[in-house]
Symmetry: C3
C-alpha cells in the first residue's frame, strides 16, 4: 500500500501550501509589502507557523517514507494523517495565542519521532537480515 | 525514463543553489555581516527569492517524483524543466522590482499544481487498481 | 546496501533536529518570546545555523539518494557521514564566532557537490545505457 503513503504525502504538501497561503493572505490583509517579513503580530505569527511547518516537514516526509519502506506503509500513512492533525491544531492555536501551541506541536512531534526511530530500527534490521527496503 | 527525473532533480537543486549563491554574493557586495538578514533592499530581495524558491521546491520535488511514479516519468521531467523556467523568470523579475514577480510565479505554481494533483490522481488510481507506484 | 543510506538519512535528520533544538534552547535562555526571531546575537547565530543547515539539507538529501541509486549506496552513506561532520564543525564554529565558519562549511559543500555531480553523471550514464536507477 505504498499508494497510501503517496496520497498522505500529497495531503501533507497541500497542508504546507495552506500555511504558505495563510502568510500571503495575511500580507495582503495588513498591507505588508514584499520583501518585508515584519509589520503586524498576526502576520508574524502566520510566518512562524509556515516556517515551523516547513522545518518539521523536512524531517517528517523522509522519515515517513523510511518507515513505509522498512516497517509498514499503511501505518506510515496513518502517521502522516496524525502529523497533519497535530500541525492543524498547532496552527490554529499559534495564530490565536503563541503560548498555547504546545498540544498540537506535541502531537506532530510524536508522529515524527515514531516515523524517524521506527524507520531507523527497520533499516538497521534490514541491514543485518537483508530484508525490506525501497 | 526515471533517469530523466533524476537529471531534472539535479538541475532543480542546482538552480536552488544559484539562489543561495546570489544571497551570498549580495551579502558580500553590500558588506552585510552574518548573521544579519537585513541592511539593503537588493540583499533582502535576494533572500526572499531564495526562501521562496526553497518553500516551493519542498512542494515540487516530492510532487514531481509522485507524478513520475504514478503517471509518467518523461512528463514529470518536463514539468521539472517548466518549474525551473518559471522560477528563473520569477527571480529576474523580483530582483528588479518585487511587484512584477507574478508571471514567473504563476508558471512554477502551474507546474507544481499539475505535478501534485496529477500525482494524487495517479496514486488514487493505483490504490484501487493495484498498478503503478515506486 | 540501501539500508545504510536510510540510516544515514535518519542521522542527518537527527542532526538537523539538533540545530532546531539549539534554537529553542537559546530562545528560552535569552527569554526571547515567539514569534520574535531577533534579540540576542547568540540566539541569532543559532537561528542562522539552523536555517543554513536546512537550506543545504534540501540539496544534500536528494543528491545522496540519487548518488545511491545511480552510483553506489555505500559511498553515498559515507558522504552522508562526511556531511554531518562538516555541518557539526560549521555549527560549533559559527556559534562561537561567525567568521570562522568556512572550514566546516567547505567540508559539507564538498560532500554535497560530490553527491550532486556524481548523481548527475550516474543518471546521464543510466539514461544512455538503461542501467541503474531506483
Amino acid at each position: 500500500m505504498t499508494a497510501l503513503v503517496a496520497i498522505a504525502t500529497v495531503f501533507i504538501l497541500l497542508f504546507y501550501f495552506y500555511t504558505v497561503f495563510t502568510v500571503g493572505r495575511s500580507r495582503a490583509k495588513y498591507k505588508i509589502e514584499a520583501p518585508a517579513m515584519t509589520g503586524h503580530p498576526e502576520f508574524e505569527r502566520a510566518v512562524r507557523v509556515q516556517v515551523n511547518t516547513l522545518e518539521w516537514l523536512i524531517i517528517f516526509l523522509p522519515a515517513m517514507w523510511l518507515f513505509a519502506a522498512y516497517v509498514n506503509p499503511t501505518i506510515a500513512a496513518l502517521l502522516g494523517l496524525l502529523w497533519i492533525v497535530g500541525r492543524y491544531i498547532y496552527m490554529r492555536a499559534y495564530l490565536k495565542e503563541p503560548s498555547t501551541r504546545s498540544t498540537g506541536f506535541g502531537i506532530q512531534a510524536f508522529a515524527s519521532a515514531v516515523a524517524l526511530f521506527g524507520g531507523l530500527i527497520g533499516a538497521v534490521v534490514a541491514l543485518f537480515t537483508g530484508g525490506g527496503g525501497a
